[in-house]
């Protein structure tokens, strides 16, 4: 991997059923990820995906791009909610470029969007290269 290399965008669909499966597997019962009424009661636009589900998909993209490289850092701000409709799916697109390669570490610049809106702030992944 060389600085400036573009990493092919990955598109992931998130359905309400995915939120149920993720909630069970991650042990996160927060009803804002399941219940429209509760979500709206705390000012959200609707049922939203777990931020960590979106970041988990980023982890999946990084794994695919790097052929399973060891992840040293992974993180982001959750700046915009990923609203998941009752029917159909929200589509999250994870795009990346290689930012730096130094001291055996590869830092990726990432852009993560849903419906054209950036949903993660300052997303960052560093892997061993």
């Amino acid at each position: 991997m060389n600085p400036g290399d573009a990493l092919g965008p990955r598109t992931f669909a998130i359905t309400r059923a995915d939120l149920v499966a993720y909630a069970a597997a991650a042990g996160d019962p927060n009803p804002i990820h399941q219940d429209e009424e509760v979500a709206r009661s705390v000012g959200l636009p609707g049922v939203i995906a777990h931020g960590m589900l979106t970041l988990g998909l980023v982890g999946r993209a990084v794994d695919e791009w790097t052929g399973g490289a060891e992840v040293v850092e992974l993180g982001c701000k959750f700046t915009q909610p990923v609203v998941v409709p009752a029917e159909g799916a929200a589509e999250v697109v994870v795009a990346g470029t290689v930012k730096t390669v130094a001291d055996g570490l590869v830092t990726l610049a990432l852009e993560v969007t849903c419906g054209g809106t950036k949903v993660l702030g300052m997303p960052k992944a560093v892997v061993r290269g």
């Binding site: 995915d18 042990g27 705390v42 794994d63 040293v72 993180g75």
Partner: protein, 142 residues
């Protein structure tokens, strides 16, 4: 003020140790649509959130903060080594910062995730946004 400023600096008790089993990781990976080989494949990098979330829930319960009023604002993991099947992990959460913006509490936390030998596996820094005022059972004063 809904969340007490004196929380800053508090270290919560460690969570109950949790074994990283093939079954647990397989369910986690499947929920992300990620491939996983239960006979010894790589564990998804976000898996330690299971431990960090456990620690966060215990913290919220101790402070009588409703989970549904919490939105995840930020999460950053720094790994000392990958999580492996068979690891027995514990999370210890500390409150590192607290500020109020527009009626919401912005709670900064750091969870040290350690293995059975007490060695650090990764550190998870999280920002929790608590909206909607008073914790359950208390009068809202704002």
């Amino acid at each position: 003020m809904p969340v007490d400023q004196s929380l800053v600096g508090r270290e919560c008790p460690p969570t109950a140790p949790l074994e990283v089993t093939g079954e647990r990781v397989a369910a986690f990976a499947a929920s992300l649509g990620a491939p996983f080989d239960a006979s010894g494949g790589a564990v998804p990098p976000t898996y330690p959130i299971v431990l960090a979330f456990d620690a966060m829930q215990a913290f919220l319960t101790s402070e009588e903060i409703d989970l549904f009023r919490i939105v995840h604002g930020e999460q950053r993991f720094a790994y000392e080594r990958p999580v492996r099947l068979g690891d027995v992990l514990t999370a210890t959460l500390s409150v590192v910062s607290l500020r109020q913006i527009g009626g919401a509490d912005i709670i900064g936390t750091s969870s040290a995730i350690t293995d059975a030998d007490g060695a650090l596996v990764c550190t998870g820094r999280a920002t929790l946004v608590h909206s909607g005022g008073a914790p359950s059972g208390q009068q809202e004063t704002a």
